[in-house]
């Protein structure tokens, strides 16, 4: 499994181009969080895997390698099990940690 080097994706909030990317990503993130929660509650594991896959690939480029990591774990979990209903608890817990990580960036305390 390829794990991104966090240093390779660090963005600079003082750089206008970087700031624009960060702002765009944070602006899109609530919609993705909603999509994750909706897919999970509808047992739509294909949609869930898709959002996770996209976040895994993209988040590091926008300066959020941690989100990429958690999304990658979720994608891995979904793709490696045959019957998601049997491992629903493990998936729920990974969905929760991904969602709360995203929310911590969306609503910083």
């Amino acid at each position: 499994m390829h794990t991104p080097d966090p240093d390779a994706f660090s963005l600079d909030i003082n750089d206008p181009a970087d700031a624009e990317l960060i702002e765009y990503f944070l602006g899109e993130l609530p919609e993705r969080v909603d999509a994750i929660e909706a897919a999970f509650s509808n047992d739509d594991y294909e949609a869930l895997g898709r959002v996770a896959h996209q976040l895994k690939g993209a988040a590091p480029g926008f300066g959020f390698p941690a989100i990429g990591n958690e999304a990658g774990k979720l994608e891995q979990q979904i793709s490696s099990i045959c019957d998601p209903t049997e491992e629903i608890e493990a998936i729920r817990s990974q969905v929760d940690s991904l969602v709360s990580l995203c929310n911590s960036f969306i609503n910083p305390s």
Binding site: A8, R50, Q54, L55, G57, G61
Partner: protein, 320 residues
Amino acid sequence: MTELQLNPDTSGTPTVLLIDDSQFVHRLLDARLRSESIVLRGAEDGKRGIQMALEDPPALILLDLDMPVMDGFETLRALKDDPRTRDVPVIVLSGMNSSQDKVAAFDLGAIDFVTKPFELTELRARVRSSLKLYALLQMLAQKAQIDGLSGLFNRQYFDDRFKTEFERTIRHGQSLSIAMIDIDHFKSINDTYGHPAGDSVITDLAKLIGHESRSIDISCRYGGEEFALIMPETEPDQALQLCERIRMKCEQINWSRHPSRSVTISIGIVGMNDGQRINSTPEAWIEAADRNLYDAKQTGRNQVRATGIDGSPIQLSKAS
């Protein structure tokens, strides 16, 4: 003018087409490749990507492997199957870093492979190197068809192209003419005024032929002081008028290196009228045009001789 068609503007900004279903990736690459001298266009699925590539072939395609409906492999296969998009280099992007995928992508004709999340400096370097390779390949392909001195198509291109035009003509029952053009007493120009003078006769005559012929004509340098002109959908009497004009204009050129010495050309034409069906071969056509050229030389040079491929003589009509 034939020469102009040969040299499409390669100095323009190259277009890169990104095919990826994720808006994030579009946004990210749009920002990260902004500093490169490229125009980035985007498609969000394989079908649309193929369509865009056909409408306006890009210099490079960045293709995501993992897309719903039509995945990257399928898209790549379709791009490589179509002669119009086959030569466009494709860099495959994938979140799955498996060597199996890489091998499959390379087998299908991808030029490079980049894993997500992107290392942006690496992606930029790979984009740059693919664009460079593409530009060089295009230049090479073009050079291979062009005669260096005259800028017209070369002999090899003439042979291939005439065969194609010949077969097309037979298939559609259309008219076709070819002309062999030879500079009179070229050796004595070289001997008297030097080879640079001879070279400038070749280049200026090439310009004249390119200028006087129509956009559908294919002008080539056939050999030393000999040129060949393919005139698709042209009956031999029309070809005769066109070549007569070239012959006259050549005679009138004022040569800066030898103002007192004019240069003349002899031309042999062979052709076939619309709907005429005559069994023949490309080789027989060239032999017939050469025979007419020889005839023009034997009977005093500085003239055009034309016949149909059936041997019927063609005369310049009084009206012209």
